[in-house]
């Protein structure tokens, strides 16, 4: 047992020695004061233990009625001030997606209107599915990369890029081509691991709280980069619907009331700028697609800060009447924007 060190009580010490030596080895008290000191010390140690455990016990006790509630953060309003005379919306058509993005942002007054030097920016493409760019289920990687470059050039101190994918994130981020393109352009790509989410107040009609990807809590500016797709339940998935992708948890529950939950989320995230990717659009079997037969080449980019207007424009690309799309109507009612995009100050540029 303890062949090294002083003998312990289980060491085989001859019994006689233990019992007889017990008193003999006790240090003889030199005087009465020494005894008193030792007594005081032992009582003191025991009393300290007793007081300490009682204090600890009462310190740890649950106080009835005062459950610990953490104050949850609320997302900031990320919209930027609109300079006098600036355009509200730009629609650009042309064969080069990156050039379309540049021209659209230019037409709105340049990225400097939206992102100031030193600000932290999060870019939110749609990276929901394990699909190639040609299948048009995710945002076009060239569009995303160009947005990243513009934001970096505007002097952002941090450029996050993230989405809460529906399929396995690693595969979605890779097969969409977005991770590689965005990294090359200078973005910090955040995959939606469990640790990437923070609980926040949603304060919506349906959704009170939810887990949101952390860059949306921390960023100064938010740029929405959705793709135009047909959607089986909500008819279309564009800018407003893209905010489903900031949420973790059992998002599928939201489909019980899809239009109002889209509005809850869109009212939570007010982006600085939205760049609607209609380079290729998915016209059927959305939002997943899969067949190239469902994809239509449109070579169009629309940009602006009114998501309802952009969605109304996107709906027309899908051959829908915006007034038939529930979340567009609800978005207008909730004051998120106007579906009358042609009444805004809109510029259209050809290829």
């Amino acid at each position: 047992m303890s062949s090294n060190g002083p003998p312990g009580p289980y060491d085989r010490v001859p019994e006689a020695r233990v019992s007889k030596s017990s008193h003999a080895t006790a240090p003889a008290p030199s005087d009465a004061a020494g005894v008193d000191r030792r007594v005081a010390l032992r009582v003191g140690v025991t009393a300290a233990m007793a007081v300490g455990s009682v204090a600890l016990g009462f310190g740890l006790r649950e106080r009835s009625g005062s459950k610990k509630t953490r104050a949850l953060p609320t997302l900031k309003d990320h919209r930027a001030e609109k300079p006098a005379g600036a355009n509200d919306m730009a629609i650009v058509r042309g064969p080069d997606p990156a050039a379309n993005v540049r021209r659209a942002v230019e037409a709105l007054g340049g990225m400097g209107r939206f992102v100031k030097r030193g600000e932290r920016v999060v870019i939110k493409p749609n990276i929901g599915w394990n699909r190639t760019p040609e299948q048009a289920a995710n945002t076009n990687p060239d569009v995303v990369a160009e947005v990243v470059r513009l934001v970096v050039a505007a002097g952002a101190s941090k450029v996050w890029l993230t989405d809460a994918s529906v399929n396995t994130p690693e595969q979605c981020f890779a097969r969409s081509g977005i991770e590689k393109a965005a990294k090359a352009a200078g973005a910090t790509v955040i995959r939606p691991d469990a640790s990437a989410f923070r609980e926040v107040n949603v304060s919506g009609k349906l959704l009170h709280t939810g887990d949101v990807l952390f860059p949306f809590v921390e960023a100064d500016r938010v740029i929405n980069v959705p793709i135009v797709k047909q959607h089986g339940l909500s008819l279309a998935s564009m800018a407003l619907k893209n905010w489903y992708g900031v949420l973790g948890g059992q998002r599928v529950k939201l489909h019980q009331n899809i239009h109002l939950s889209i509005i809850d989320l869109a009212a939570m995230v007010r982006p600085t700028l939205t760049i609607l990717d209609a380079t290729r659009i998915l016209t059927a079997n959305g939002p997943t697609g899969g067949s190239l037969a469902d994809v239509k080449q449109m070579d169009t980019i629309a940009a602006g800060s009114d998501e309802v207007a952009l969605d109304a424009f996107g709906a027309t690309l899908l051959g829908l009447n915006p007034n038939d799309v529930g979340f567009i109507v609800e978005g207008m009612k909730a004051g998120l924007g106007t579906p009358q995009w042609h009444n805004l100050k809109t510029v259209e540029l050809g290829g």
């Binding site: 009580p9 289980y10 019994e15 007889k20 007793a50 455990s53 009682v54 349906l206 529950k253």
Partner: protein, 502 residues
Amino acid sequence: MFRWLRRAYQIVFLGFFLFLLLVTTAGLIRGYDVQWLLEFDPLVALTTALASHSLHHTLLWALILIVLTLVLGRFFCAWMCPMGVLHQALGFLARKRRPPDRVKQNAPRASHRIKYLVLAVMLGLAAAGSVQIGLLDPIASTWRGLATSVMPTLGNVVFGKYQGERHFQWGTLITLVFFGALALNFVYPRFYCRVLCPLGALLGLLSKFSLFRISRNTEICKGCKFCGSDCQGAADPQGTVRATECMVCLNCIEGCPRGGLSYKFLPPLASSTTKIDLVRRKWLGAGVAGAVAVPFMRASDGVEPRPNPARIRPPGSLEESAFLEKCLKCGACMKVCPTGGLQPALQEAGIEGFWSPILIPRIGYCEANCTLCGQVCPTGAIEKLTIEKKVGEMPSRPPVRIGSAFFDKGRCLPWGYQTECIVCEEVCPTSPKAIYFKMETVIGRDGTQKTLKMPFVDLDYCTGCGTCETRCPVVDRAGVRVSAANESRTPRSSISLTGGKI
């Protein structure tokens, strides 16, 4: 004299324990704090506090025992512990006749240190968020053994009127463990207390500071060793008394023919030892082993990732990980449940939830106007509920849900066999009823038309109480069954979007 005084205390405390056990039933409970002895148990307080970082208010009782042990030593084991009484009473099983043989039987052994390692493992587990102390804690074990094994057996065989016939799934396991622990007295007296008991270990550690101790006067002692012949704790009164092992049974004082031993305030330090003789490496190793076991257990079963549909917790249960930080598996809720539906889990709640309470509606349902399980829970793993809170009032105050009912349309009589049956709707206790009918016209095998009441579940009103499943006339697997889905203790379990969380 001391011996009889001690026995009187032991009998009083055992009687008190049995009384509390006996009144833990719907008809008798009134306001009794039936788990008072568990609340008095510092190990329960320590492990649940380590795991949950808070101390349930009832567990403040434990501070009394901590302070008393700091002053008096590990007296609890020989004066108060209900399991200790049983062990001491059964100690005769292995007791040798000749005093010298008994001295050998009751001598300290190196194996008596195992309990400290058991304690370290339990504390490690608790620190990592898994309270498993109830498996070995003497009070929880005794309660569980008596409540889910001995009493149902006696009840079913002898006193059938007491709680009706009771069955606990795989209760035989509990029986074997409970009687197995008692049977260890065949090896030597108080084997469990000396070798395994983690509460004894904790009290032993506190006794290192005890002010009152047994002391042998070497001037008087002639070395006959009679003092050691009945020593309950194997504390070596004939040598240097081990303060950590001494249960203050006082048998040594009685045994000495010359009056050479006494229990007194601050005897000379050298007359007793507080050394346990475990190197720090062993303490740490055991504690780390316990802590590391938790992520391993969670890698196997998880807490949330793969919830079992049969993991239907009692109403008022905390969210699962908080529940596992507090539940002792003592069985108080199972004992008090008026329908007998609360059962010890086997695999339903994962390895960590072994023997924790789950409702098995086929055995018994959750009575709507009953909150007894929360009332008897000693640690707050099941919160105390009021009937108003439990029943709720839709839509402003949703009820406490423990799950929800689902129809198995192949087994339900109207759905599967076109046969009239309205039992589930009839017994559904919510108002309005969660189970409702729609009239449907069906065409029978012979071509005749008939109109049947087809039952449906309204998730807004269903509380998962399981009355429908208990009463469903389809034998063995019912036509309507409850699963834990939609339980209200965590928003993650909810099926519907109402509630504002996903």
